[in-house]
Point group: none
C-alpha cells in the first residue's frame, strides 16, 4: 500500500481558441479518475512562479526548492549516477571539438557536441585514470556527448564561471571566481587545471585518432557549465520514515530522486520521449507500489511536445497515455492513494514552462468526492481541493493513508 | 505592452440585506471584463488580516509588507515629495493651535488642525530656514493642515513616541524613547528640540499674527506622529527589470510608488475623492501603458464612501466609474494584461477596512476563461483563480506576458 504519484511533465496548457491538448483529448480513464477523486489546481512552486522540472519535483516530494535547490549541476550529476555528497561542487559537461595552437584556453570550439559522439566510455575511463588534481573528482557519461563532473574536497565553491562559451567559433573560456573569497579562487584554479589535463589526455587518445582518420570531429575537450554545490538535503526516508521509489528515464528527474535518497528505476524501454514504453513504466510503478510507500512515476513526453509547439502531438500522446493507465483504475483505493498531476504547464504556444497552475486529482476511497468529471485545466479548479501548492500535495496523500504524525495533542 | 493594474480602493463590501454596493450597481463594463477574464478572490495580505492601503499596495506590487513596511511616516513623507532615504526617520505632522504659558510642552492643544488652515507654504519656508538641529531635516506640506517631517543623520531611531496628544484640551506630549538604546534617546531629544524651535518660529510668524487679527486659529505648533524608519527597499526596476508607473492623487499611494522607485503621475483633475476626473486618470493610464511595463491606476473614492457608510453613494460612484472604464475593454489583450481589483474591503456598515477578500479579474488573451460573468463579491470566488494572495498577483500577470524568469531547469 502507498501513494502512487503520476507526474506528467508539462501536461497542462494555455487555451488556443479556447481549447488545450488535454481538454480536447479523448481520455476516458483520466476523466474517470477525476470522477472518482477529489480535484483541484496546483501551483507546484507558488502562483506566478515559472517552475523548472527539477524545482517542481523537489516541491512535489516535499522539499522547499528555495531551501534545497542550488542549480542543475548536482541534480544532473546524481542523475547520471555519481554519488554526490553535501559540499561537492558539480558541473554539467559536454564533450566538444576544439582547434588551434597552444594551451586549451587559446583554442576555439568548433563543435560543442563533438559530432554528437555516442559512446564516450573510453574517454571517461582515460580521464578517471590519468587526471591528477589536489582534490578528488568524479566524472560520468550522460547520454550522447553529455557528461557530469563533480569535485570533492575541503574549501570548494560553486561561485565560479562556466568554461563552455556556449557558441561555436569562440575560445574555451577560463573559469573565473565569481566571489572574492579563497574558495572560489581555488575552485576556478582546479577547474582550469582539470580542463587542461583532460584536453591533453583526450587529444592523444586512440579513440580520437581513430575518429580523425574516419573524418569525424574529435572529442578533445570537456566543457563545463552550471556549477552547483550539493546542498545538505535530508533523505526522504529519514525525513518521513517512508520508502520512496522514483521511476524515470530523464536524467534530471532521476537526479532529483537520487539526491533525496530514493531508489531510482528506469524500466526496460523507458526513454523519456514520446516513444517510451509506457506499459513497462506502468508495470514497474505497480510493482514498486508493493514494496515502497511512495512511488513517483514520471512521464516526460508531453513537456517535449509542448516545447516543440506540437498541439496535435501532445493531444495524441495524452490519448495514448490514457489508454495505458487503465490498470491504475484497478488499484485497491482502500489501501492506495493515486495522484495524477503535472510538474508545470508547457503551453504549445509558449514552447516553454509557464506558471499556469496544473490540474491535480487525488483518488482514494476516503476522499471527499466533488462534482468534477473531466480531467482538464477548465474543470479542475471547480473541485474540492480548490488551489493548493506542490509542497503540500504529498502531505495530503499521507494523511489520507493515516500514516502521518499529528502536530500537537 | 504591459500590465495595467486598476486598484479600486475599498471597493468590496459585506452584505447589507444580502446586497453590496458592487453587487447591485449597474456595471456592464466590469461585468464584461469578468466574462472576458479569469476571476477569483484575493487576500491582499493574508486571510483575516485587515489591510491598510499602504501595506496592501506594497503587497500588490510584490513587496512583502511584513518585511518592508515600517509605518505610515516614510510613505506619507515620500508621498508629499520628500526624497526619503534608507535610515531616515519620518513622521506625519499636522499644524495645530496651542495655548498657554511657558515651554511648548506646558501648552494645551485647542485645535488639532489650526482651523483647517489651507496654505502653509510660508510656515514651511520659515521652519526650513530657521530651525537649527545637529542632524539634517526635511519638512514638506501635505494637503490642508497636513505635513511630513524627516530627520536624517547617524544613529537615529523610530522607536519614539508621538508628540500629538490626538485630542483637544490635552497638553502637547514630550517625545519619549520607546527603547532603552542611545539611538531612541537621541531621536527623542532631537524631536523635542525641533518641536520647541518650530513653536517659537511659528508663534512669531507674520502669517499667524494676521490670522489672529482675522479671528482665525493660529498654526503655532507642528504635532508629530507615526515615526517610521525608511527601510532598505529594492527598487521595482532593480528587482524585476521592469518599469513601473503609479497613477494616483492620494499621498499615501503616491508614497508607496515613490519608495519602490516608480514614476508617480497625478493627472490634471485627479483629486483622490468622488469628484476626481476619471477621464483624465484613465487617459493617463492608457498613455503610461505605452512606455511602462507595469501601470498601477489607483481610484480612491469607494474607500471614502465606505468610511462614510454611504451605500448609495458607493453604488453610484461604481456606476460612474464603470462607464468611464469603457476604453479599457478596447486594449489589445494579446499584448496587454488588465487586472481590476481592490486593495481591501471597506464595508459601509463597518466604516473601516476589513479583511474580507476582494474580487479580482485578470484579462489577457491566454487566460483560462471561467464561467464567471459578473464582477462582484458573490461571484468572483467561483472563478478559475480560486483564492490568491496579493503578493502573487503581479507574478501571475508577468507570467502571462511571458516575461518572468524560470526557477530551475
Amino acid at each position: 500500500m502507498g501513494v502512487l504519484l503520476v507526474v506528467i511533465d508539462g501536461l497542462s496548457d494555455r487555451p488556443v481558441n479556447g481549447k488545450t491538448p488535454l481538454s480536447v483529448a479523448r481520455k476516458p480513464n483520466l476523466d474517470r479518475l477525476a470522477e472518482m477523486g477529489i480535484n483541484g489546481i496546483m501551483d507546484t512552486i507558488a502562483p506566478g512562479i515559472r517552475p523548472g522540472s527539477d524545482t517542481s519535483h523537489l516541491a512535489l516530494l516535499g522539499y522547499d526548492p528555495y531551501r534545497y535547490y542550488s542549480g542543475r549541476g548536482p541534480i544532473e550529476a546524481a542523475g547520471v549516477g555519481i554519488d554526490v555528497k553535501p559540499g561537492d561542487v558539480a558541473f554539467r559537461a559536454n564533450f566538444a571539438t576544439v582547434e588551434g595552437e597552444g594551451r586549451l584556453f587559446d583554442k576555439t570550439v568548433v563543435d560543442r557536441r563533438a559530432g554528437r559522439i555516442e559512446d564516450t566510455s573510453a574517454l571517461i575511463k582515460a580521464i578517471r585514470e590519468k587526471v591528477k588534481l589536489p582534490v578528488s573528482f568524479f566524472v560520468e557519461r550522460g547520454t550522447g556527448h553529455r557528461a557530469a563532473v563533480v569535485f570533492r574536497g575541503e574549501g570548494l565553491s560553486d561561485r565560479v564561471s562556466d568554461t563552455d562559451p556556449k557558441a561555436v567559433g569562440k575560445k574555451v573560456k577560463l573559469c573565473t571566481p565569481l566571489d572574492k573569497d579563497e574558495k572560489a579562487r581555488k575552485m576556478a584554479e582546479i577547474v582550469n587545471e582539470f580542463m587542461q589535463q583532460v584536453h591533453e589526455i583526450l587529444d592523444n587518445h586512440p579513440l580520437n585518432k581513430e575518429r580523425a582518420e574516419r573524418g569525424l570531429p574529435v572529442a578533445n575537450a570537456l566543457l563545463l557549465r552550471g556549477a552547483g554545490e550539493m546542498p545538505h538535503i535530508p533523505k526522504f526516508e529519514e525525513k518521513t520514515g517512508l520508502k520512496l521509489c522514483v521511476i524515470a528515464a530523464t536524467a534530471l528527474i532521476k537526479g532529483v530522486g537520487k539526491i533525496v535518497g530514493a531508489d531510482v528505476i528506469t524500466p526496460e524501454g523507458a526513454t523519456g520521449n514520446k516513444n517510451t514504453n509506457l506499459d513497462s513504466k506502468i508495470s514497474a510503478a505497480l510493482m514498486a507500489l508493493e514494496s515502497y510507500d511512495v512511488v513517483l512515476l514520471h512521464i516526460k513526453a508531453p513537456d517535449e511536445l509542448g516545447h516543440d509547439g506540437d498541439f496535435e502531438g501532445k493531444k495524441a500522446f495524452i490519448e495514448k497515455l490514457d489508454a495505458k493507465i487503465a490498470p491504475l483504475l484497478e488499484l485497491d483505493f482502500n489501501k492506495n492513494c493515486l495522484i495524477v498531476t503535472a510538474d508545470h504547464s508547457t503551453p504549445v504556444r509558449v514552447r516553454d514552462h509557464t506558471a499556469d497552475p496544473v490540474p491535480v486529482v487525488i483518488v482514494h476511497e476516503d476522499v471527499r468526492k466533488d462534482e468534477v468529471k473531466t480531467f482538464s485545466e477548465f474543470e479542475a479548479y471547480k473541485g474540492g481541493l480548490c488551489r493548493i501548492k506542490g509542497i503540500d500535495l504529498l502531505n495530503i496523500a499521507l494523511d489520507l493513508l493515516n500514516i502521518s504524525e499529528k502536530f500537537g495533542a
